[in-house]
């Protein structure tokens, strides 16, 4: 049953990264859109993400609940040593979620809209940045449970170039996902071209940020290159991801928007696979050379069993309805919008 729980955890993180990522990306795109196009972008985006956006951040909650029920030691270690970036990320989540709703539901549309917009775009940037920083920090090996001073315990665990580079990389991936997702969402050609341009730009930025991650890993002596290349699944995934980028670039000007989305999602899946495969089952690397392992830190057997059943039972209810929701608003054309 432990494997059921691990699969759910991994899937929840992946879905949060792709669906939630596209959602953050929508705000990031808005940040990089000229004023004259902002309104239009906003409308297209709202149509695209409005109905499903509440469901998106549920993936994060599921991942957190799995962690604190199934792997409490991992949850509490992260909570203690990542306290500061977690709080900053939470502030981003609060600001973003509320601003998004407020700007849509405010009964009077006046200058307040500008305030909501500002909050929305900046928090869309901050949240994935810190999410990436936290993710990066799990593998830097700087988390030190035996630290005796404040800086080592609570700051240097995450405040380093590598984590920041991963944060930046996450931000560009989110922008990229959002742009690719929205291409298929707008019927107008000029709009479409604008989003294709954005998607290309963010893809290039993501590659640059990715290289930056590698370069910094070399400088900071984090053996990232060996993790990726010294085992065939890692290398294969890297190869497939590269091929999918090439395919994506060859179809920008076609109508195959669903293929584009698939390829973008595939790339993110491969990235998450590469970064977790080699360490599995370790998910947090500690300073003393030890690691927190999903297989060693699990809660009691009965806890894991009931958790697995709860997750399986939940998905029987959730998946069909979620698919129908997405189908209703994406595939089925609305009678009027």
């Amino acid at each position: 049953m432990i494997y059921v729980v691990i699969i759910f955890l991994w899937t929840a993180i992946l879905l949060y990264l792709t669906l939630g990522g596209a959602d953050f990306g929508a705000g990031i795109l808005e940040l990089f859109t000229s004023d004259k196009n902002k309104n239009k972008t906003r409308k297209t985006m709202y149509r695209a993400i409005g109905p499903i956006w509440e469901a998106n951040h549920m993936w994060l909650i599921i991942a957190i609940v799995i962690l604190f029920v199934g792997f409490p030691k991992i949850y509490t270690t992260m909570s203690i040593h990542m306290h500061i970036p977690l709080v900053l990320m939470l502030l981003g989540i609060i600001a973003r979620g509320t601003a998004f709703t407020f700007r849509h539901y405010d009964a009077v549309k006046d200058e307040m809209q500008e305030v909501y917009n500002k909050i929305f775009v900046y928090s869309s940037f901050i949240t994935p940045l810190f999410l990436g920083i936290i993710a990066g920090s799990t593998v830097t090996g700087r988390i030190d449970p035996n630290a005796t001073n404040f800086l080592d315990a609570y700051i240097f665990s995450w405040f380093n170039w590598f984590s920041f580079a991963v944060g930046l990389f996450t931000v560009t991936i989110c922008g990229f996902l959002a742009a690719v997702f929205i291409i298929g969402q707008t019927p107008e050609t000029s709009e479409k071209e604008r989003f294709i341009k954005k998607a290309k730009a963010f893809n290039i930025m993501a590659v640059i940020a990715g290289l930056l991650v590698f370069v910094i890993s070399l400088i900071e002596k984090i053996p990232l290159t060996t993790w990726v290349f010294d085992n065939w699944p890692g290398a294969l995934a890297f190869g497939l991801a590269t091929i999918s980028v090439v395919i994506l670039w060859s179809i920008w000007n076609t109508e195959r928007t669903n293929l584009m989305r698939f390829l973008a999602g595939f790339q993110v899946t491969m990235i998450l696979f590469i970064t977790t495969w080699k360490h599995y089952p370790n998910i947090v690397l500690l300073k003393n050379g030890e690691a927190l392992s999903l297989l060693q830190e699990q809660g009691s057997e009965k806890t894991i069993d009931t958790l697995a059943w709860a997750l399986l039972l939940g998905s029987i209810f959730i998946l069909p309805t979620l698919v129908y929701l997405i189908y209703s608003f994406q595939v089925k054309q609305p009678k009027s919008v």
Binding site: V65, Y75, Y105, A107, F150, F329
Partner: protein, 443 residues
């Protein structure tokens, strides 16, 4: 303020904030569904307008409730890691089921908010009902988790180890039923009176009277029925607390000396040094009756509880008085309303009845906050009753005080914005809904 107090204050602040939104998120969908049903049955456009207006309210509260809830699920670890390390695997079951309930709620809300005129109208209505039911289910589940802290179950605590964990037994701990029942009814009382009060005010101001009268009636009926049931369920809770947590009961009642035929103390200023309560109204025997159903039963007083295991007495006592006082008051208002509905129809046109409701607008929520203060402060110094002390659970990270200030600032600004938005929502009612409207516009 030291870090420990800061952590407790931040937790209390976040929960106190979340509970308001979650109560509304749990209860408003039912109001919405009723007015939607009336619209589908009668085709009266006012009901459609009410449904639209309330739907906007639900969307605003849902989003705020969801983000504040997400914050909470992190804060449990950020502030109480030692607690979560042991408690997570034991009391996590309701949280993982709650995840399902939230998910269904969010999906149903997606259908409901964006589904006007897209789906079969009864299917669309039904998704609104699902929002309400799954909201209620999450409320029950999360309260079951809290109840576990008051009445730990589902594990054996041997030499500091948590063994033989059974998450299902932990979920169905002894306190879950009385707490969940009381909480759900409280959500209906608080939301019902808050919504009814706002509409009553607008009727008094003679604005969009038809709209507000119809809305008032739906909210008031829910609120008043719940307010009459609430003291009954409160009595069940009190009896349970008397058995399960005598220290909490003694603090609630400022009951210093163990005695038979114990008096119920109403109001008053407890003096913890001398063990006296000044200026209080005392009803002989009533506490014995309330706690054990027998006027002569012995009620354990604070004198039987070691000093280091006593909760803060004054806070618990005042909070309990506030809750019960409001409970009695709202019950009285509710009876007046029912008399008006059945016997004295002419009261319904009188301003004093509406004014009573306007006065009651915030009371339900004040009682909710007070009730939680009783539960949480009354459990101190334990975070898990008789197993783990709160001070042993707090994070080692220093400087929590700054995080407390920051969250306070954030929550205060959010509250201001939400109030401001609701004010605008209500101000716009005449412009949005008084004109005759075509059937296809959307909320």
């Amino acid at each position: 303020m030291d870090d420990f107090i800061a952590a407790r204050s931040q937790m209390a602040l976040s929960l106190g904030f979340h509970i308001i939104f979650s109560c509304i998120g749990m209860v408003m969908p039912f109001f919405m569904a009723v007015s939607h049903y009336l619209y589908l049955k009668t085709n009266n456009i006012t009901y459609r307008n009410i449904t639209h207006a309330w739907t906007k309210g639900v969307a605003i509260f849902f989003a705020t409730g969801a983000v504040s809830g997400t914050v909470l699920s992190f804060e449990l670890g950020l502030l109480w890691p030692k607690f979560m390390e042991h408690a997570g695997p034991i009391f996590g079951m309701p949280f993982s089921l709650e995840g399902t309930a939230f998910f269904i709620e969010a999906i149903a809300l997606g259908f409901y908010l964006y589904g006007w005129d897209r789906f079969n109208k009864w299917f669309h209505w039904f998704t609104g009902v699902v929002v309400g039911i799954s909201g209620l289910a999450s409320g029950i589940l999360v309260v079951a988790a809290n109840a576990w802290m008051n009445s730990p179950a589902g594990f054996d605590y041997i030499d500091g180890q948590y063994l033989n964990i059974d998450p299902i037994a932990a979920m169905f701990n002894d306190a879950w039923f009385s707490q969940a029942l009381h909480m759900c009814i409280a959500a209906f009382v608080a939301t019902g009176f808050a919504v009814a009060g706002v509409h009553a005010l607008m009727i008094l101001k003679k604005q969009s009277v038809d709209f507000h009268t119809k809305s008032f009636r739906i909210a008031a009926i829910f609120g008043t029925i719940a307010a009459i049931l609430q003291p009954l369920s409160g009595d069940i809770s009190a009896k349970f607390v008397a058995k399960n947590q005598p220290a909490k009961l003694a603090a609630m009642e400022a009951h210093f000396h163990t005695e038979k035929n114990a008096p119920l103390i109403i109001g008053g200023i407890p003096n913890t040094e001398t063990g006296e309560v000044k200026y209080a109204l005392k009803i002989p025997g009533a506490l014995s009756f309330m706690a054990h159903g027998d006027f002569n039963a012995e009620v354990i007083g604070l004198d039987q509880i070691p000093k280091e295991n006593q909760p803060p007495i004054a806070i618990t006592h005042y909070a309990f008085q506030i809750m019960v006082g409001i409970g009695m008051l709202l019950m009285a208002v509710s009876f007046a309303y029912f008399i008006a509905l059945w016997k004295k129809k002419n009261w319904l046109t009188k301003n004093w009845l509406l004014k009573l409701f306007v006065f009651s607008t915030p009371l339900g929520f004040i009682a909710v906050e007070a009730g939680w203060t009783v539960t949480e402060v009354g459990r101190q110094p334990w975070i898990i009753k008789d197993v783990m002390r709160t001070i042993d659970a707090v994070t080692p990270m220093p400087g929590i005080i700054y995080s407390f200030y920051m969250f306070t600032a954030v929550y205060i600004s959010l509250s201001i914005i939400v109030v401001f938005m609701l004010y605008r929502q209500i101000k716009m009612v005449p412009q949005l809904y008084d004109l005759p409207k075509t059937i296809d516009d959307k909320p």
